[in-house]
């Protein structure tokens, strides 16, 4: 549908938390992908990316075009300036329906799902917290230590 050097995606959505969109796009387009980026620098048709790993980060170099998924460590959102807000109000976003990008109804929504949602539920919380009290915060703190010793946790 257009030209691109880098396609940026988030790490995962806040509803289904699956973390698959960016990698799926990469696979469908036959592009390399680097996930969990916290810093991206471009030079000579390549991107140099700091990818977050459990005990630090690795520096990955990737040929462009590529898909990059980013983490929240990439940086905080900028505040929108009044001028920007005014300019944004005048711009019309392009909205595509499935047919506009060549998809059949059977390929989208529930009909196009590869897996079936059998059940959605909220796990029951037992809520059996034993509150340890005291006349003051300090007393309660000391009482907590004593209680944990009784419960053989210390």
């Amino acid at each position: 549908m257009g030209e691109y050097d880098i396609i940026f995606c988030g790490r995962q959505s806040s509803d289904w938390d699956a973390g698959q969109v960016g990698l799926g796009v990469a696979e469908i387009l036959g592009l390399p992908a680097v996930t969990l980026a916290r810093k991206v620098e471009i030079s000579d048709g390549k991107a140099r990316i700091e990818r977050v790993i459990p005990d630090g980060y690795e520096v990955v170099e990737v040929k462009l075009p590529a898909v990059v998924t980013v983490t929240s460590e990439l940086g905080a959102l900028r505040y929108a300036a009044l001028k920007g807000i005014m300019a944004a109000a005048k711009k019309q976003p392009t909205i595509w329906k499935p047919a506009d990008i060549g998809l059949e109804p059977s390929q989208v929504g529930a009909a196009g799902r590869r897996s079936k949602l059998d059940k959605l539920f909220q796990p029951v919380k037992e809520g059996k917290c034993e509150m340890v009290e005291g006349e003051t915060g300090a007393e309660a703190g000391a009482a907590l230590a004593t209680r944990l010793r009784e419960a053989k946790l210390l």
């Binding site: 509803d15 992908a33 459990p54 909220q122 917290c129 340890v132 915060g137 300090a138 703190g141």
Partner: protein
């Protein structure tokens, strides 16, 4: 149509040894394979797999596919997806499991799309439906506020599994199994990424994931200092480690490596002491596997008290020093 049979675990190595997540996947995979009355296989890829292959058998695998290639020395998505794709073609498994780890969450979606199948990520529970033999996949959604059960009719059935959600089997060196070396020709032209360097940022000392006790602080700590002083003092006393919630890490009070939660570390210590942490579901997603949760919070309605076993309502500045002093006294006596 090819016949799909057995369970394949995509294993990971850590410093040349079988990673903890892989032993957990083998524990889960063994149960699924037994329910299906089929084989449990494990793929291990590296420049040299070595003794880890025998370890995988000791932890439950019937067959280990060892893929050795210099390009697989460290995890590079383009190379690993090729290797995994070829092993899946060779084994034709019914179920493919990977860890919800740095490697697995990068590899599994690519592999699933390449194979044209579906994938459930971050599963907490996996069972086999006795009638359909399909995998029933339970995973958290909406930041841990709810859980969803998925199934798919596409083959192979793929899932990634959350760290510490499954128990490994006891290591049994006498278990019999077979190690099969698989030669995979990697298409170097399709490897577009290279790892230039790896930088470790973890605080010195005990790794958070290995700590039996974690003392964790949240937004209510008010700044970076208590993480170095009062929380650290308690953690040291209990031979544990200090962790934090996401607001504390986002504010720069603690390094990101200490962030426990949905998008940070997932831990399951014996004792988790949450200080001035409200207990948002995103945080609990990272620590709800702890055996005993103890909470100190000034808000009696904080969600953390719904999750904790013992709690004290009070300002941490008042409660924590007295708690630490009493703990010290009890441990000394």
């Amino acid at each position: 149509m090819a016949e799909y049979k057995g369970v394949l675990v995509c294993g990971e190595l850590s410093d040349g040894k079988l990673a903890a997540i892989t032993t957990e996947l083998l524990g889960c995979g063994r149960r699924l394979a037994d329910d299906l009355k089929e084989e449990l296989c494990c793929m291990l890829a590296s420049d040299a797999v070595g003794e880890a292959a025998k370890d995988a058998i000791a932890f439950g695998a019937d067959k280990v596919y060892a893929v050795e290639n210099p390009a697989l020395k460290e995890y590079v998505a383009d190379a690993y997806v090729q290797a995994a794709d070829k092993v899946v073609a060779e084994v034709s498994p019914r179920v493919v499991l990977a860890g919800q780890t740095s490697v697995g969450r990068d590899l599994a979606p690519r592999l699933a799309f390449r194979l044209g199948t579906s994938l459930s990520t971050d599963c907490l529970e996996l069972t086999v439906d006795p009638d359909s033999k399909l995998l029933t996949q339970t995973r958290p959604v909406y930041g841990g506020n709810a859980q969803a059960i998925f199934s798919s009719e596409l083959m192979p059935q793929m899932a990634t599994v959350r760290a510490k959600a499954m128990s490994p089997l006891e290591r049994d060196g006498s278990r019999a199994g077979e190690v099969v070396a698989i030669k995979v020709d990697l298409d170097e032209a399709k490897i577009a990424t290279t790892v230039q360097e790896t930088v470790k940022e973890e605080a010195a000392g005990l790794k958070l994931e290995d700590a039996p006790v974690i003392v964790s602080g949240g937004r209510g700590m008010g700044g970076p200092d208590p993480f170095q002083t009062s929380l650290k003092e308690l953690a040291d006393l209990l031979r544990g480690a200090v962790g934090s919630s996401r607001p504390a890490a986002d504010n720069g009070w603690t390094p990101e490596a200490l962030h426990i939660g949905l998008t940070g570390k997932i831990v399951a210590p014996d004792i988790y002491i949450a200080v001035a942490i409200s207990g948002a579901s995103q945080h609990m997603a990272g620590c709800s596997g702890s055996k005993h949760i103890i909470a100190i919070n000034k808000d009696p309605d904080a969600n953390i008290f719904k999750e904790a076993e013992f709690g004290v309502v009070g300002k941490y500045e008042d409660v924590l020093p007295a708690f630490t002093a009493k703990v010290k006294e009890l441990l000394a006596g």
